[in-house]
């Protein structure tokens, strides 16, 4: 192995690089180094995640023991839980902010922001992002939007509470609910800033991948992680502006008397002047982002697992071309399926048929990806590190959650399960839990690169198994209460005696949710402790092929101390053998990307 790394440094001296003197502020706060920015994203995302998960636990406690006093509510919610009994408005606020935080702040910024930033330059062989400055601005805008979102929890009438989908008129008319006053204003401002941050980030990723690949790193030699981040960024650039427009129009309707989304409204004894707008228009605009958003969350996780599964199986990823094609197909199709959230919105039923059809189409590349992962495991030599377990877990939840999508994507079947807990179960498994597993897998795998330390593997195993059991324990039974027709976003189900026999199951789900949330403390402990006291990481702990493991262990702005290595092969030459059955590099079951083709070796013509 030593010999291999030495080989890297012998390449041409193409671009020299200077080191600037760094102060604490430029190194840790206003850093333009993509690695530091990645860590900032990660830590901010994890803190937001802790808040989001805590909120979900509060909701689950209310569902398990509806309208019962609870000291935890009293302590955490204060005036929102008079006598310890949760107020219905604050339940809806928790639903809303939990959903917003998890989707945007944790799984868009925390997952994609972290790993796109960290891995794109390192894996394509670049010294940094195309624009380090814009990258820094992107992070700080994200930070600002997080701060505003959190501050909205403290306004007089409470935070936004119209659901993460903020459908008007509920979100537009302050009289409709307390959260639609100042709380909603802050939500919109926060999201507008978030979108700006995301666009800056995405443009940077796209430009970097297109322009800054090292010599030999053709698009078809890119690791699948980079393909995933690249395409995710493109989807973001295409769809986030539409949400921005929707938010802007909503702000106009709220504050300047326009009527984009409002018409014929009589509320609290008064007719509003708005005339001629349509809430359905908002739904279209929202889901034009909202559905691609699901893939913005998911594709990076799938990219990360592709890399981790190949490395730890000691095998090439099966069907590299098909994987890339699937990513592209998913990206394209994801922009034309949004209507499957709107089958019963009152839009023309013919459109419903069209969206059912496109939704069927997107199931196909998703299925191909799942099959390819399974085949990659076949006849491997699986190194079951925690990152690998989370990756396998992702494939499992992705299949379970994806399959129920076939019910929801069928316009006929959606009629009776739309907006029930069946939907909640479906999207939590397929996007929430799967993407979260991707995030964890990424952290366990690249922690050595990020912090030069190893995380404790046994704590990692404990974290995985408790989370895996807990996640299915929460979300599998949830399908069945959904099948009973239990609506989501209900503060309590006690007004429908028909649902009385679901109460046990709701309690069971809550126990699992609490246990799973507590299991995350193992991760927090492991993460923090390993940063300071972890064992020093070797240069390439997982014996991986990609370029990030060739930088050596010094963390410098510019990544490679010497020249940037050139690339001579794809990223998946694991266990490749010569005609005589011997590994390409004798005694070593992997051949990193910067190693030139050996005598008589043929390049994988994938």
């Amino acid at each position: 192995m030593g010999q291999v790394i030495a080989a890297a440094t012998e390449h041409g001296h193409d671009d020299g690089h200077h080191h600037h003197k760094e102060t604490f502020v430029t190194k840790y706060i206003f850093s333009t180094d993509h690695k530091m920015i990645a860590k900032q994203y990660l830590i901010t995302g994890l803190i937001m995640g802790a808040i989001g998960i805590l909120m979900s636990v509060l909701m689950r406690m209310q569902i398990a023991n509806p309208e019962q006093p609870n000291v935890i509510f009293e302590a955490l919610l204060g005036k929102w839980a008079p006598g310890g009994v949760m107020d219905p408005n604050i339940y809806l606020a928790l639903v809303t902010i939990h959903g917003t935080i998890m989707v945007f702040f944790v799984l868009t910024a925390g997952l994609s922001g972290t790993f796109s930033n960290f891995l794109i330059p390192l894996q394509i062989g670049a010294r940094d992002m195309a624009s380090g400055f814009l990258n820094m601005v992107s992070y700080w805008l994200f930070f600002l939007s997080s701060a505003i979102m959190i501050s909205s929890l403290f306004v007089e009438l409470g935070p936004a509470a119209a659901g993460w989908t903020i459908y008007p008129p509920l979100s537009a008319v302050a009289k409709a609910m307390p959260g639609s006053g100042m709380g909603m204003t802050l939500w919109l401002v926060s999201m507008a800033i978030f979108i700006a941050s995301s666009l800056l980030g995405s443009l940077n990723y796209v430009v970097t991948v297109i322009n800054m690949r090292t010599k030999g790193m053709s698009m078809t030699r890119l690791p699948l992680t980079i393909w995933a981040f690249f395409v995710t960024a493109i989807i973001g650039v295409v769809s986030f502006p539409v949400l921005f427009a929707a938010a802007l129009l909503l702000i106009m309707d709220r504050s300047f008397g326009t009527s984009f989304f409002l018409s014929d409204i009589y509320i609290k004894g008064e007719v509003l002047a708005h005339q001629g707008g349509s809430p359905v228009l908002f739904e279209h605009l929202f889901w034009f982002l909202g559905h691609p958003e699901v893939y913005i969350v998911l594709l990076p996780a799938l990219g990360i697992t592709s890399e981790i599964i190949a490395t730890n199986s000691r095998k090439p990823i099966f069907g590299y071309r098909a994987m890339v094609a699937s990513i592209l197909a998913i990206a394209f199709l994801s922009t034309i399926v949004w209507g499957h959230h709107m089958f019963v919105s009152g839009m023309n039923p013919f459109l419903g048929s069209v969206f059912t059809f496109t939704t069927l189409l997107i199931a196909i590349p998703s299925a191909v990806k799942a099959f390819n992962y399974i085949t990659t495991l076949w006849k491997g030599n699986l190194q079951l590190n925690p990152a690998m377990l989370f990756s396998i877990g992702l494939v499992s939840t992705f299949i379970t959650g994806g399959l129920t999508g076939i019910i929801l994507g069928d316009s006929t079947l959606d009629i009776n399960v739309h907006d029930t807990y069946f939907v909640v179960a479906h999207f939590h498994l397929v996007m929430g839990i799967s993407a979260l597993y991707g995030l964890f897998a990424g952290v366990y795998h690249w922690f050595p690169k990020m912090f030069n330390k190893m995380m404790n593997k046994n704590l990692g195993y404990a974290h995985f198994w408790l989370t895996a059991i807990g996640a299915y324990g929460v979300f599998f039974p949830m399908h069945f209460i959904g099948m009973a027709g239990l609506p989501r976003r209900y503060y309590t189900n006690t007004n429908f005696p028909y649902f009385d026999d679901l109460a046990d199951t709701n309690q069971l789900i809550t126990y699992f949710a609490i246990a799973t949330a507590l299991a995350q403390l193992i991760f927090v402990y492991n993460f923090v402790k390993s940063i300071f006291y972890g064992k020093k990481a070797p240069a390439n702990p997982w014996k991986s092929n990609t370029l990030e493991w060739t930088t050596g262990d010094k963390h410098i702005h510019g990544n490679w101390d010497g020249p940037i290595p050139h690339v001579h092969r794809w990223a998946y030459d694991y266990s490749k053998v010569n005609e005589n059955g011997e590994y390409v590099i004798p005694g070593q079951d992997y051949t990193p990307q910067h190693i030139p083709l050996q005598d008589g070796e043929e390049e994988m013509n994938h």
Binding site: Y266, L403, D410
Partner: protein, 358 residues
């Protein structure tokens, strides 16, 4: 059954914890020193691979237990004409996806176990196989195409509100936080309406100058004659709501500023539905739960719960504000005769206005 499940799952959790404490113990062995100690070794691979196998077995047990334990959670047979087809499609789809679920999860976890890493084991360099990939692209295409085609035919049929001859036209009106129904009266035509006409007794904003509206009747319960197609016109006064009638497999959002429509034919009267075996058993169970609960409540000095009798209901299924969780309306499906008798007791809009003036 649920109690059994809870115990089973609690047991699984305890076993997991116990195993984990064992691993953590093992992790302290001398071999764990140095960074290599944090990378999976043969012993880890062996152990984790086995856990993968146990996990998938436990998962199968859980899935089967859920299907058995929760079978009475599934909604009973549909009480509407299109509902039977809906139920068959749902059943077929569920069977298909559960088969796929069982097979793929088995492969995924079996491979994770079977090929767990061992020193000296050589992975197979296997990067591509066009034939295989073609096959597993084609299979989902065919299966999905079948399911979706069936779905699309039903969808077009269900959503075509103009297909019925002589349907009953009914308006369902939503507001924060309740429902009203407007019957179109003898002319079977709803009078024009707009929120701008809302005033005093005219709570639904019916246009007082429109002749069609004079014989309209506003009610607080939805009564429907059995076996007659109904076309619902939905209208909202304030925010989005969704009219969800789960037992009829019917749902449509209610959107301020526009009229949305849905139609179905109720086929089972409330009386008949109540007395099905499924429903009597379900209601018995629910009342058992309510009795238990009442005992606790009374012990704490609270009022006991009323015993439950099943009635069809319509509930709000789109977040609409603080009392979204309690926005419901009773539905009664009855014989034509009973329906007409009930209708006679309702007041027409004309009379309502006249009364209000006195």
């Amino acid at each position: 059954m649920t109690a059994f499940l809870i115990i089973l799952i609690a047991a699984l959790f305890v076993i997991a914890l116990w195993q984990i404490s064992k691993i953590v113990q093992l992790g302290k062995s001398p071999e764990a020193n140095g960074a290599d100690g944090e990378i999976a070794n043969d012993a880890d691979n062996n152990r984790q691979g086995k856990y993968m196998l146990y996990f998938v077995i436990a998962m199968y047990v859980m899935m089967i237990a859920c299907f058995i334990g929760y079978q009475d959670y599934f909604l009973p047979d549909a009480a509407s004409a299109h509902g039977a087809e809906y139920d068959s499609l749902l059943l077929l789809t569920t069977v298909v996806i559960m088969i796929v679920q069982f097979l793929t999860q088995a492969l995924l976890h079996w491979f994770s176990y079977k090929y767990r890493g061992r020193k000296g084991q050589k992975a197979l360099f296997y990067a591509d196989n066009d034939r295989l990939e073609f096959i597993w692209t084609a299979i989902p295409v065919v299966v999905l195409a079948g399911l979706i085609l069936w779905g699309l035919f039903s969808w077009n049929d269900i959503m075509d509100v103009d297909k019925h001859e002589d349907p009953l036209v009914v308006e369902v009106y939503a507001y924060q936080f309740g429902w009203k129904v407007r019957y179109s009266g003898a002319d079977n035509t709803l009078g024009d309406a707009n929120v701008r006409f809302i005033e005093g007794a005219n709570i639904l904003g019916i246009d007082p100058t429109d002749a069609d509206g004079k014989d309209d009747m506003v009610a607080t319960e939805l009564h429907l004659p059995v076996n007659r197609p109904v076309v619902f016109n939905f209208r909202s006064q304030d925010v989005l709501h969704s009219a969800y009638m789960p037992h009829f497999r019917a749902q449509m959002n209610v959107v301020p500023g526009m009229v949305t429509k849905f139609s179905f034919t109720p086929t089972v009267t409330s009386e008949d539905y109540k007395s099905t075996e499924f429903m009597t058993e379900k209601v018995r169970k629910i009342n058992e739960i309510r009795r238990q609960k009442s005992k606790e409540l009374e012990a704490a000095g609270d009022v006991a719960l009323d015993p439950y009798e099943f009635e069809y209901y319509l509930l709000c299924n789109k977040i609409c504000g603080a009392s979204h969780y309690n926005m419901q309306m009773k539905i009664v499906v009855e014989s034509e005769e009973d329906y007409n008798k009930w209708l006679e007791t309702q007041t027409t809009f004309e009379t309502t206005l006249a009364n209000a003036e006195n």
